[in-house]
């Protein structure tokens, strides 16, 4: 009786150790990819840091890890391993490449005999398994908790050392917003090493034999770093097909999964991937290949063709004067018609809705058919999700103010959610998409912030009321919007039309004001001349044309 109690206590201790090892490991990996050198101070007077190593906790990474693990009180972390941290690179052009996958896995002592059915995806696992068999005789199972604790400390130190040696470290140190950024994703699943391309390397960081199984920490990293768009994309095509067919949808329905519990495990992992790694899952899907500059963009369903064409053409033709007028015009169009956004909003809403439904199905995992349907549904939505994310990212890069439209676009989605499942807690996925951009690779001191600030200032500057500009603006906008405005008026109803009339009336009065002012100036020109001559200027400056003379003076 007491022996079993002791065993249980030891297991509890071990679970706690493993949990904190997992939490600290993700911190180490993600922090090493921030692109900066790290220094933490020793604390000789017995600090409280786990494994006696000072690893600072980044709250965001902590949240992500906890979200990925999704441990409820009373849950054991042993059922939630392997835990993976994926580091990927994304260029400003939108090319994306997975650089490495760090994983912490627990090999059950009994599971040694069973065969894995993951194909290529379980490479690292197989390797480590082979190693386990090889070293089983040599290494004994550790029982004393302090011994395990110190070995975990060594493992964590090894992890710290090794994170500085892989190619991704150098890349992350050189990252800059103009060329590429480094992203991370934490998920609970087998390490997806097939995204690492040919010739990737597996390194086992450490292995620890305990009473609950062998704890294995390993990394798989890419060795071929060249991004050549054609080959990379061709390669991705293959990978995507494999990924979608064999990895995303199989586990939920696969009858060959060893235990029901494991099936459940995988199903949740897939959901996590969609949620947490919505970015990557979407980026990885085939949509990007479809955007071909040669071909015209195809409009979505329910899109007004006339409006769409007008939008894209206008985008390329810049008015000659004045230099920043197009910014103001862009805003006006954005506000008045919003034709460009409607498609995005639909996609976004659709995507969110799918995630919601996904979560919903996740709650009752027994329903396999529903789950399956849900996955196929996601196949479509991944691609659309990418687009909306792109849009979001583009606006984010330019100005922080564009947050509000995105947020507002989400309102219908939440309404939908409440309508369908009021008891469901709101999924964190939408926030996550946004968070990924800001944290942690955008430092407040980066150069882009200046640009964004400048852009914002231009964007919000009050329109200057030059006479010529105003006239040109009024005439051009009225002429250009007439074909579209007829349809938009028809669509928006009488209020919009009334508003349009009111604004044109206001413009006209402003014009009158200006012309009156000008007339006044012209009549009093002589007075001004007199004033200038009173200042004692020589005849040469006043002999030139008056207006240009003024210009010369200012020059």
């Amino acid at each position: 009786m007491s022996a079993t109690q002791r065993l249980n206590a030891a297991e509890k201790d071990l679970e706690r150790f493993i949990k904190f090892l997992a939490l600290k490991s993700t911190q180490v990996v993600v922090q090493s990819r921030l692109g900066e050198k790290i220094q933490t101070q020793c604390n000789p007077l017995a600090g409280n840091d786990w494994f006696n190593i000072v690893v600072q906790d980044h709250p965001e990474v902590m949240d992500e890890t906890k979200r990925a693990l999704a441990l409820k009180p009373g849950d054991s972390i042993l059922q939630r391993l392997p835990l993976c941290v994926e580091i990927s690179l994304k260029t400003t052009e939108g090319d994306q490449m997975v650089l490495e996958v760090w994983s912490l896995d627990l090999l059950q002592p009994a599971a040694n005999g069973t065969t894995t059915n993951g194909g290529g995806a379980s490479n690292a696992r197989d390797d480590s398994k082979a190693d386990t068999n090889g070293t089983n005789g040599e290494s004994q199972t550790l029982k004393a908790s302090h011994a395990i604790y110190s070995r975990m400390g060594i493992m964590l130190k090894s992890l710290i050392s090794l994170t500085r040696t892989t190619p991704a470290y150098k890349l992350s140190r050189r990252q800059c917003p103009d060329s590429y950024g480094i992203f991370y994703r934490i998920y609970v699943d087998r390490p997806q090493v097939h995204t690492l391309g040919e010739g990737h390397k597996n390194v086992k960081i450490g292995q620890l034999h305990t009473i609950v199984g062998s704890l294995v920490m390993s990394v798989a990293y890419r060795t071929k770093m060249t991004i050549s768009p054609t080959t990379a994309q061709a390669h991705q095509t293959e990978n995507n097909i494999i990924m979608l067919k064999s990895d995303h949808f199989r586990p939920a329905t696969d009858a060959s999964s060893p235990t029901n519990q494991q099936t459940q495990n995988h199903a949740t992992a897939v959901t996590k991937k969609l949620g947490l790694g919505g970015l990557n899952a979407a980026l990885g899907s085939g949509e990007r290949r479809c955007i071909d500059i040669e071909k015209p963009l195809r409009p979505g369903a329910f899109t007004d063709m006339g409006k769409l064409r007008q939008y894209t053409e206008d985008d390329f033709v810049l008015p000659e004067t004045p230099p920043f007028e197009w910014l103001l015009r862009g805003r006006q169009r954005h506000e008045s018609t919003g034709s460009g956004c409607s498609m995005e909003s639909l996609n976004r809403l659709d995507n969110v809705a799918s995630v919601v439904s996904n979560n919903l199905h996740n709650n009752n995992n027994n329903n396999h058919t529903a789950n399956n349907f849900n996955h196929s549904h996601n196949l479509n939505n991944n691609s659309t999700g990418f687009k909306s994310f792109e849009k979001q990212q583009a606006t984010n890069g330019e100005a922080a103010t564009s947050f509000s439209p995105i947020k507002s676009l989400l309102i219908p989605a939440t309404a939908y959610r409440h309508h369908s499942e009021p008891t469901l807690e709101p999924p964190p996925d939408d926030d996550n998409l946004l968070k990924e951009l800001h944290f942690p690779f955008a430092s407040p001191t980066s150069h882009v912030n200046d640009l964004a600030k400048f852009y914002r200032e231009c964007y919000h500057a009050p329109p200057l009321r030059g006479l010529n500009e105003l006239q040109a603006e009024v005439s051009s906008s009225s002429s250009s919007t007439t074909p579209a405005s007829s349809s938009s008026v028809a669509a928006c109803g009488p209020t919009a039309a009334a508003a349009a009339v009111a604004t044109s009336a206001a413009d006209a009065s402003a014009l009158d004001d200006l012309s009156r002012q000008l007339e006044q100036f012209e009549t009093s020109l002589e007075d001004y001349d007199k004033l200038v001559s009173q200042f004692g200027l020589t005849g040469s400056s006043s002999s030139g044309s008056r207006s240009s003379g003024g210009l010369q003076m200012s020059n």
Binding site: I38, Q39, Q41, L45, A46, S158, R164, T166, R173, I205
Partner: protein
Amino acid sequence: MNARSQVFDLTMEGLQVDEAVTTIFQTVLFHRCLGKFMYTGDAQYSIGTVGYTDVDCNFIDFTYVCCTSDSLTHKVKRAINVFSEKLRSNESCGSGQISLEFFQKKKNRWPFPQESIPWEVWTVHLDLIKHENEDERQLCRENVSDLLTEKVIYITELMNRHDYVPKTPSQSELDLIFDTSFPDVQPYLFKFDYSTSGSAAPSMGNAMKKIIKETLAM
């Protein structure tokens, strides 16, 4: 005595020696450093925590991690520097080796001095080369970096094996196992040993190592 012995063979330019050796030794020491022990009873103690620092190399495209301890860094740097100066001096013929040796002390009866028993030895054997032009130098810079990556991976692999390390003693015997002279960290007792081909007769340990190496090479 059955000390574990690891030998790394490296070939590089004189300028890179310091950083390459430091990378290897600091990585080892990082794993062999504990927090300071604070004894509350003879067998009861709490352990301090170890901070770490990223260090960029100047002559190699590499970053290594070491304990955040100025005194330890200084000690390692000085030892390696003495060796590298010797190795790169005019008398030297351009090859030599330096080793980091972990040992424990054993008390003997009164007239005999304390005995040092090594339990782990890390040796770096170096051959110097000179580059003709900048292209070659650049290539070598990358090669040495790849080489160090390999070595660090190897070191971590060894560290995670369940090999012998001295047991933590009671307070009175702490100095026999650990170097307690540092204010912030507590590494196992260690010392440096070096020889360059131009100077000094090799010690017994070095001769043994040479024999082992030669048999391995065969």
